[in-house]
């Protein structure tokens, strides 16, 4: 039976929300790992029953959990994330050198073809990889040591590697993003990297050609069109048509171009979704109205999607990893809020339903399309 499995990471555990392909009746299971921060849960595209979860706590540190049965049962795997060699320093908030210190795993990206291979994006920013289903992790240190690492600076939420995109058409090509260093690309499966931030403009960076330092909040790509990338930057929604070699702004008529999430329709590579947030000092939607904005033209022209979303007195945020799309014929779109709601649309955003209303603050949302 086809359906969807929505994987939700929250400040106090993970939840799995399921429905059949009609996406009308939803069942919530969890909390898994109750009381722990779950930054991310993601399933393997090669084996949908293989899930990985990042479990962490300020008290007890980082764990990685793995499920082989679609989230019914879980077992911890290795949690050793040791930087390769002497990690050196990056730049602290005040511009002084600060030693690299592992804090947590923000994002887990399973390989497109092998359920035992997973990439992990961590804070302080670095990339790790397992090839044995999480039994061991090794740093892809070419990212941290490629030359600009000493200039990287944390954003307000920490110096996190939060986005990992694997290009299905160019094996070995990986895009990642770090707050607040910027976007980077590897063409050799993470061995070597280069910054891809040309065209980004940030008010706090006087050098218009700065190679790094931009606070990229999220990248998105449609798998059928992997040279086109979309970016929600701290401010500005951006687009690249050449694999990140250059970017141009497509914020267009958005009410504000600050925000965190950005995603692409499963079947329409030029249809995008963002959730505008009022400002970086007010992390809530403008006018107390929670609105998803959709562009059907690859940016610039945006329409507000409001049907089923609260249009008064709403002051939640939608964090960077908290939006996903399913691949059913009528594309489903999902996002979670810091108020503990998870909203779903089974018609590409035309209307929305709260499929969970009272969860802990949502950090991440992923969805698996089950066939």
């Amino acid at each position: 039976m086809s359906g969807v499995r929505v994987l939700v990471g929250t400040r106090k555990g993970a939840f799995i929300i399921t429905a059949d392909a009609a996406r009308k009746d939803w069942d919530i299971s969890g909390p898994f790992f109750g009381g722990w921060e779950i930054y991310h849960v993601k399933g393997s595209p090669a084996d949908p029953n293989r899930l990985y979860a990042s479990q962490s706590s300020g008290w007890f540190g980082q764990l990685i959990q793995r499920s082989n049965d679609g989230g019914k049962t879980w077992d911890p795997v290795d949690n050793t994330f040791a930087y390769d060699g002497v990690p050196g320093t990056h730049m602290w908030y005040d511009g002084t050198p600060h030693p690299w210190e592992f804090k947590r795993v923000w994002h887990l990206e399973p390989s497109l073809t092998n359920p035992d291979i997973v990439y992990a994006g961590v804070e302080d920013a670095a990339m790790f990889k397992t090839t044995d289903g999480g039994k061991s992790w090794a740093e892809l240190s070419g990212l941290r040591t490629h030359g600009t690492g000493s200039k990287w600076q944390p954003g307000a939420g920490g110096m996190c590697l939060h986005t990992i995109i694997l290009d299905p058409h160019h094996p070995g090509r990986i895009y990642i993003a770090i707050s607040a260093a910027g976007a980077f690309r590897s063409d050799d499966d993470g061995a070597t990297w280069r910054p891809i931030n040309r065209g980004l403009k940030s008010q706090y960076i006087p050098d218009p050609d700065a190679e790094v330092g931009h606070c990229v909040h999220r990248l998105a790509m449609h798998p059928s069109n992997p040279n086109v990338l979309f970016m929600q930057k701290h401010w500005d929604v951006m687009r690249s048509d050449n694999g990140g070699d250059s970017w141009h702004e497509v914020s267009g008529n958005l009410p504000t171009d600050f925000g965190f999430v950005i995603d692409v329709h499963a079947h329409e590579p030029e249809t995008l979704y963002v959730v505008p947030i009022k400002s970086d000092s007010e992390h809530y939607p403008p006018d107390g109205k929670l609105r998803v904005y959709r562009s059907r033209s690859g940016g610039n022209d945006w329409e507000a999607l409001t049907n089923g979303l609260p249009q008064r007195d709403c002051y939640v945020n939608v964090l960077r990893d908290a939006m996903a799309v399913d691949r059913l014929d009528s594309c489903g779109v999902y996002f979670g809020t810091t108020g503990g709601q998870v909203y779903a649309s089974s018609n590409a955003g035309d209307s929305w339903t709260a499929i969970a209303q009272n969860l802990p603050p949502v950090i991440s949302v992923e969805v698996q399309t089950l066939t």
């Binding site: 722990w36 706590s57 300020g58 007890f60 911890p76």
Partner: protein, 99 residues
């Protein structure tokens, strides 16, 4: 046998019943020896009490025994004799936060 009290989250993680685990720890019984034995019995706890690389106590984890805070003692100091004799537990506590 050494009795070790674990905080709730670590009991869940290690899948132990009850508040305490009992460990065989060779003499001299020190904090380091207790933690080594605990992690050997329950590998999932590696990294949750002390850092994997530096072996230092995590900031928000405290060690107590016999109403004494041992958190800042050397991990190579012998623990109180009543702990070594199994009469009193060695307590691993998550620092209390809140208002």
């Amino acid at each position: 046998m050494i009795r070790v009290f674990l905080p709730a989250h670590l009991r869940t993680l290690a899948r132990v019943a009850g508040d305490e685990v009992e460990l065989d720890v060779p003499a001299p019984v020190t904090t380091r020896a207790i933690l080594d034995a605990l992690e050997a019995r329950h590998p999932v706890l590696r990294g949750t009490i002390r850092d994997q690389a530096t072996r230092k106590r995590r900031d928000f984890v405290r060690f107590f025994a016999c109403e004494t805070d041992l958190s800042h003692e050397s991990v190579d100091c012998p623990v109180p004799s009543s702990v070594a004799a199994g009469l009193e537990p060695f307590l691993i506590i998550g620092a209390i936060a809140g208002g």
